[in-house]
C-alpha cells in the first residue's frame, strides 16, 4: 500500500461528501469529485487489472480516457457497461464496479500462468497456432481467457436521446487553450458550444505555475457560464469528425449520479455542424519503453500530476521521475512541493529548463542527465528502478545503480490528439523538436490550438526503447499495455515482413481495442522505424477512424428501439376489428386482421368459414391500406398513358380499370385499379405495401423525365378508409344504406367509379372485385371509418354478414387466379410471364418499361409463367415447393407461389411460376419440398368461376 490521499489540496473533491462504493467484493469509501481510479488509489489499491494476454498485474498508467490498463465493468442491477476506464468513471454513492479480465480478482489471478509461459506466446501466436480447420476446437477456451468486459445479457433499461443542431463555433476541449479560444469567440458575439470530456474545465494543470493557471481557468469558466451565447457541455466527448464537418459527440447526462437519482435519458448523442470548429484536444503523454515498465507503480508523469491536483491523491510516498522533456518535470515538482518524497529525477537530455532545475535544486531533488530507467524492480509493485546511460548509437549501458522507490513517473514525450483532424482526412507532419505528428493546417473546416497543435510541448529527446542493443528490443519492455505488445513483438513483426503500420497493427494487435493505441501507437511505429532506419513520418500512422472513444450502441439507436424501431400503422377502424375478436398481424407495415376466429376455432377453421361465407352471402373486408394517389392536371391522362401498360386516356370519367405499372426494366412494379374521376382527374390505386413506392415512381418520372407535363400528384392513402363489401348479397346490403349513388347494375356496372354520399358522408365507390364476387369498395374520409364499419355490420346482420380478414381474401383471390404482387411475382417478373403479354404487344406508343419487354431476355420462350397447380390427391401444396419434371431431370422448373384450401372447390388450389408453363396445361409434374414430393397437374390459374360471371352480379 503506497498510494494515499493527502490532507490538503484537491481542486475537484469535496471532503465533506464521502461516498460509498464497491470494487469487486470490497466495500470502500471515496469522496465526491473522485473518479473510480482516484478513489481506489486513495484507498491504497495499486493493482487495477490483469493484462489482456499474459494476465500480468497492472496499475494505473494514465489519468484520462487514454488509460489502457484500468478497464472495469460497472454493474448495478440490470444497468451495466463493460470496458469503462476507471480514470473517467466518476464516483457516485453506491457505485459497483469490478475489473475485467481478472478472475477471481486482480490480486490473485489464476490465468497469470500465461505470463510464465510468455516466451511461447509471441505476437501472432494465435494466428500461427490455432489455424483452420481446427480453430473451432480452440476458440471457446481462448475466448474465455482473452476478451474484455461482458456484454449485457438483458435489454438495456436506459433510454438515450439524440439531438441535431448547428452553431457558429464549436470548441472541443476545455483546457486553458480551449477556454481562451471559446472566450474570445464568445466576446465577438458568436454562438459557441464548448465540449469537454471531463466533468471539470481546466484540463491538465499542475506544477509550479498551478495557482495562476488554475485561477485563470476558473475565471474563464465562470465568464463562459455567464454568457448567454455560450453553452458549456461537460462530460461530452467528441467521437467523430466526418463529411462536411459533421461532429458526433456523446454527452453523458446521468452516469455520474447515484442510480436512484437518475432521471431522463442516460446519454445524448449530438450531431452538430459548426461554421467554425476549433480543436483544443490537448496531447497524450507517452510511456518510456524499458524492462518492467508495466509494473504497478510505474505510471505517466502527467497522470500523477493530475491525480494530485484534482483529487489530492499521490501514487506513492517515494517517487522517481524518468523523462526526456521539461513538461514532465512539473509533476515531480508538484508532488515534491506537496511534501512527498521525490528520490530523483533522471532526464535523457544533457540539460533541462533552468527554471525547473532551480526549483528542483531548492527542493533538494537529486538530478541526473543522459540517464534513463534500465529496469523496474519488483513484481506486484516496484521497489526500485535501475538506471542506465545512453551511449553512442542509441544503446543503453546500465550504470549498476538502483534508486529505491515505490513509484516511477515516466514521460517519453507527447502525442497531440490529432484523431479528429485525422478522421476528417487532415494531413500530419512529423516535428523533430517535439518528436510528434502535428496537424497540417488548412484544407479542413477546423483549426487546432494549444497542445493539440504542438504548443508548449517543448524539446523532446527521442528514446523510443531502452536496450543494450538497439537492434534487439526487449521482450520485457511493453509498448501497448492494453494488448500486451512488447518492443520485441514489434521487431518480430518486422522480421516476418509485417512492416506497414496497418500490418503491424493487425499482426501484433498494437493499437487495438478500447484505447486504440492512444499511448502506444507512436512508440510502436517509431520502434519499427528505428529498426528499418526510417524516420516516423516515413513509417506513417494508422488510419484514424471514428469513434475516438467507445460509446454505447444504445446512444446510436436513440429512440429507435422496441416499438419505435418500426412504428406499426393501425387501421382507422382498428378498435372495431379488435372488438370483433380479430387476430392481428403485420402486413406491409400495417397491423391488419388476418382472420376473426370464433371461440373454439383454429385459425385455419376461421379462414375457411370466412371465405365460404363471402361466396355464399356477403362479407366485409377493411381495405383501407390500399394506396390512393390523386393525379390531376391537363396532361394527367397523357402522363398516366406513359405509366401503365394499358392505355388510361381511353377510360371514360366514372370508369376504372385494372392495370400494371412497370419499371423501366420492364419488371412489374405494382398493379391496381386506376379510376377516372373527371377528364383531368384520376385516382391511382396501388397495393397496400407499395403506395409510397408508386408515389415516388410517379414523381420521379414527372419531375425528371417529363417536367413539361402539367400534372400534380398527391398521395391521399391515409385520408380515406376503404370498406369492401363482397358477395352475392353485397348490393342488397348497400340498398339498406342512405346513399345517393344509383347502385343498379345497369347504372353502375362492374369497373364503375362513382362519387356521392353514404349515410350523409362523402363516399367514393368502386365496383371492383379481388374476390371474384359482386363487390363494392366504399372509400370514406378516415374519420368516418368506424361509423361506416358499424353501419355496414348493422345493415348486413339480416343477411348474415361475415367480417373477413387478409387470409380469407388470399383464399378467394387464389381461387380466382388473381395476382398477388410479391407472392406470385418477384423482381424478375415481366408482364408476359403472368399473362399480360397481349396489352404490351397491343400498345404501339411508348410507356415505361415497354422497350425492355421487347428485349431478348423478356421474350425467351422458356421463361417461368404463371399457372395453376392441382395436386393429384387434392391436398395442399407447399408454398416455395419446387416444380420438377416427371422424368429423371431433377432441375427445378419453377415453384409454388400461392397455395390455399378452397372451400368453394372442396380441394386445395395453388398458383405457381413454371418454365413455359402456359404451353404445359395438363402435364403432370412433381412438387418437391424438403425431401418430400407430391404429384400435381399444371392447370389454368383460374380455378373458380373461369368465365368471371359472378362479379357482374
Amino acid at each position: 500500500m503506497t498510494s494515499l490521499r493527502l490532507d490538503a489540496g484537491g481542486s475537484m473533491i469535496d471532503r465533506a461528501r464521502p461516498l460509498q462504493f464497491r470494487w469487486g467484493r470490497t466495500r470502500l469509501a471515496g469522496l465526491a469529485g473522485d473518479t473510480l481510479a482516484s478513489a481506489l488509489m486513495a484507498n491504497g489499491e495499486s493493482v487495477f487489472a490483469r493484462s489482456f494476454k499474459y494476465h500480468r498485474p497492472r496499475g494505473l498508467l494514465a489519468a484520462g480516457l487514454e488509460e489502457p490498463n484500468a478497464i472495469v465493468q460497472w454493474q448495478e442491477g440490470r444497468l451495466t457497461s463493460p470496458n469503462l476506464k476507471a480514470t473517467t468513471l466518476e464516483l457516485h454513492d453506491g457505485l459497483i464496479a469490478a475489473p475485467v479480465n481478472a478472475w477471481p480478482s486482480p490480486q490473485f489471478d489464476l490465468l497469470a500462468a500465461n505470463g510464465w509461459i510468455k516466451r511461447f506466446i509471441p505476437a501472432a501466436f494465435y494466428y500461427k497456432t490455432f489455424i483452420w480447420p481446427h480453430w473451432h476446437l480452440f476458440e471457446p477456451a481462448i475466448r474465455r481467457a482473452a476478451g474484455l468486459g461482458l456484454a449485457p445479457v438483458h435489454p438495456d433499461p436506459d433510454s438515450y436521446a439524440q439531438h441535431v443542431d448547428q452553431v457558429d463555433c464549436l470548441v472541443v476541449g476545455a483546457g486553458l487553450a480551449g477556454l481562451q479560444e471559446a472566450a474570445s469567440l464568445a466576446r465577438q458575439g458568436k454562438k459557441v458550444i464548448l465540449a469537454e470530456s471531463d466533468p471539470w474545465p481546466g484540463g491538465a494543470i499542475f506544477g509550479p505555475a498551478h495557482d495562476t493557471e488554475r485561477a485563470q481557468a476558473n475565471r474563464l469558466a465562470a465568464e463562459l457560464s455567464a454568457c448567454p451565447n455560450v453553452r458549456v457541455l461537460l462530460r461530452t466527448t467528441v467521437l467523430a469528425l466526418q463529411d462536411d464537418g459533421l461532429v458526433t459527440m456523446l454527452e453523458r447526462l446521468t452516469d455520474h449520479l447515484p442510480v436512484a437519482q437518475r432521471q431522463g435519458p442516460r446519454h445524448r448523442l449530438w450531431k452538430l455542424r459548426a461554421r467554425d470548429l476549433v480543436l483544443a484536444t490537448g496531447a497524450h503523454e507517452r510511456p518510456l519503453v524499458f524492462d518492467g515498465n508495466d509494473r504497478p507503480g510505474v505510471m505517466l508523469a502527467s497522470a500523477a500530476g493530475q491525480l494530485l491536483e484534482r483529487q489530492a491523491v499521490s501514487p506513492g510516498r517515494r517517487l522517481v521521475l524518468a523523462a526526456n522533456n521539461d513538461r514532465a518535470w512539473d509533476a515531480a515538482l508538484a508532488l515534491a512541493m506537496a511534501g512527498l518524497g521525490v528520490a530523483g529525477i533522471m532526464d535523457a537530455r544533457t540539460a533541462a529548463d533552468p527554471a525547473r532545475v532551480a526549483v528542483a535544486t531548492v527542493l533538494g531533488i537529486r538530478m541526473e542527465f543522459e540517464t534513463v530507467p534500465w529496469r523496474a524492480r519488483g513484481s506486484r509493485h516496484i521497489t526500485a528502478v535501475e538506471t542506465a546511460r545512453i551511449i553512442a548509437g542509441g544503446a543503453a549501458r546500465p550504470t549498476g545503480t538502483a534508486i529505491a522507490c515505490d513509484t516511477l513517473l515516466m514521460s517519453g514525450g507527447y502525442s497531440p490528439v490529432v484523431h479528429l483532424h485525422g478522421q476528417a482526412g487532415g494531413q500530419l507532419v512529423w516535428h523533430d523538436g517535439v518528436q510528434a505528428f502535428l496537424p497540417v493546417p488548412g484544407a479542413l473546416p477546423c483549426r487546432m490550438v494549444g497542445a493539440a497543435a504542438g504548443d508548449g510541448l517543448g524539446h523532446v529527446r527521442p528514446v523510443w526503447h531502452i536496450s543494450a542493443d538497439p537492434r534487439r528490443p526487449s521482450a520485457k519492455a511493453f509498448v501497448d499495455f492494453q494488448n500486451d505488445v512488447t518492443a520485441a513483438d514489434v521487431a518480430l513483426a518486422r522480421s516476418e515482413s509485417f512492416r506497414a503500420v496497418e500490418h503491424l497493427k493487425r499482426y501484433t494487435t498494437l493499437g487495438m481495442a478500447t484505447d486504440q493505441g492512444k499511448t502506444s501507437n507512436i512508440n510502436g511505429l517509431a520502434i519499427m522505424g528505428g529498426l528499418a532506419g526510417l524516420s516516423p513520418d516515413t513509417v506513417g500512422t494508422t488510419r484514424f477512424r471514428p469513434p475516438y472513444e467507445p460509446a454505447p450502441i444504445g446512444a446510436f439507436a436513440g429512440h429507435r428501439v422496441g416499438q419505435l424501431l418500426r412504428p406499426v400503422r393501425r387501421l382507422p377502424a382498428h378498435a372495431a376489428h379488435a372488438s370483433l375478436g380479430a387476430r392481428f398481424e403485420e402486413y406491409g407495415l400495417w397491423e391488419r386482421p388476418s382472420c376473426y376466429p370464433k371461440a373454439g376455432e383454429t385459425e385455419a377453421d376461421a379462414v375457411f368459414r370466412e371465405a365460404a361465407a363471402v361466396r355464399a352471402g356477403v362479407g366485409l373486408f377493411d381495405a383501407s391500406p390500399l394506396g390512393k394517389i390523386e393525379v390531376k392536371g391537363p396532361d394527367a391522362a397523357n402522363f398516366l398513358d406513359r405509366i401503365y401498360v394499358g392505355r388510361v386516356s381511353t377510360l371514360r370519367p366514372g370508369g376504372c380499370r385494372y392495370g400494371l405499372i412497370l419499371n423501366e426494366h420492364g419488371i412489374i412494379l405494382d398493379d391496381g385499379i386506376v379510376a377516372r374521376i373527371a377528364d383531368d382527374h384520376f385516382l391511382v390505386g396501388t397495393t397496400s405495401s407499395n403506395a409510397r413506392i408508386v408515389h415516388q415512381h410517379l414523381e420521379e418520372w414527372l419531375q425528371c423525365e417529363w417536367p413539361q407535363l402539367l400534372v400534380a400528384i398527391a398521395d391521399v392513402t391515409q385520408q380515406w378508409a376503404v370498406m369492401n363489401v363482397a358477395g352475392p348479397n353485397a348490393r342488397r346490403l348497400l340498398e339498406g344504406l342512405a346513399c345517393d349513388i344509383d347502385l343498379d347494375g345497369a347504372a353502375f356496372a362492374h369497373l364503375g367509379h362513382r362519387e356521392g354520399h353514404v349515410e350523409g358522408v362523402p363516399c367514393r365507390m368502386q365496383r371492383v372485385s379481388y374476390t371474384g364476387e359482386l363487390s363494392f369498395e366504399l372509400a370514406v374520409p378516415s374519420r368516418f371509418a368506424l361509423a361506416l364499419h358499424a353501419r355496414l355490420l348493422a345493415c348486413g346482420a339480416d343477411l348474415g354478414i361475415v367480417p373477413f380478414g387478409i387470409e380469407a381474401m388470399m383464399v378467394l383471390r387464389t381461387e380466382k387466379g388473381f395476382l398477388h404482387l410479391g407472392s406470385d411475382t418477384d423482381g424478375t417478373t415481366f408482364p408476359d410471364d403472368v399473362g399480360f403479354g397481349a396489352p404490351v404487344r397491343l400498345r404501339k406508343d411508348d410507356f415505361i418499361g415497354r422497350r425492355s419487354c421487347l428485349m431478348p431476355e423478356a421474350m425467351r420462350p422458356d421463361r417461368r409463367q404463371l399457372v395453376g397447380l392441382q395436386s393429384v390427391d387434392g391436398t395442399l401444396l407447399p408454398i416455395g415447393g419446387h416444380v420438377l419434371g416427371k422424368g429423371q431431370d431433377r432441375q427445378s422448373q419453377g415453384w409454388v407461389t400461392s397455395s390455399v384450401n378452397s372451400p368453394a372447390l372442396g380441394r386445395a388450389v395453388a398458383l405457381a411460376m413454371v418454365c413455359a408453363g402456359r404451353s404445359r396445361h395438363g402435364e403432370e409434374v412433381v412438387v418437391w419440398n424438403r425431401g418430400g414430393t407430391q404429384r400435381a397437374r399444371i392447370v389454368s390459374p383460374v380455378a373458380f368461376d373461369p368465365k368471371g360471371e359472378r362479379m357482374h352480379g
Binding site: V164, Q242, D243, D244, G245, L246, K271, R273, G425, E664, H665, Q696, E699, E700, Q703, C704, E705, P707, Q708, D846, R850, R851, S852, M855, P856
Partner: protein, 91 residues
C-alpha cells in the same frame, strides 16, 4: 453524413435525401437497338472526380435536385433545381 443544399429548403442533412444516380441520362426513342437500350439502362460513366447526379429531397420538399459531387471525397460543390434531361445534357 453530407450536408446537401436543397435549392428549395436550404442546407439539410443527407439522411433526408435519396441519391438517384448520374445525370443526364438520355432516354432513347423506342426504335433504338437492343444495345442502345441496354446501355441506357445499365451503363454509367462512374468517373473519379466530379459527378453530376440527382438527389430526391424525400423527407423534405419532395423535389428532385441536381448536384455536382466529387466521388473522391464526396464533397458536393454545387446544387440546383433539376433541369429537363435534354437541357441538362446541353448545359
Amino acid at each position: 453524413m453530407l450536408e446537401i443544399n436543397c435549392p428549395w429548403c436550404g442546407p439539410r442533412p443527407e439522411a433526408e435525401f435519396r441519391c438517384g444516380g448520374e445525370i443526364p441520362i438520355i432516354r432513347p426513342t423506342p426504335d433504338c437497338t437492343d444495345r442502345e437500350w441496354a446501355a441506357y439502362l445499365h451503363e454509367r460513366t462512374n468517373p473519379k472526380g466530379m459527378h453530376r447526379e440527382r438527389w430526391l429531397h424525400v423527407l423534405g420538399c419532395g423535389m428532385w435536385i441536381a448536384a455536382i459531387r466529387s466521388t473522391i471525397n464526396h464533397h458536393i460543390t454545387r446544387t440546383g433545381p433539376l433541369a429537363a434531361p435534354h437541357d441538362e445534357a446541353s448545359s
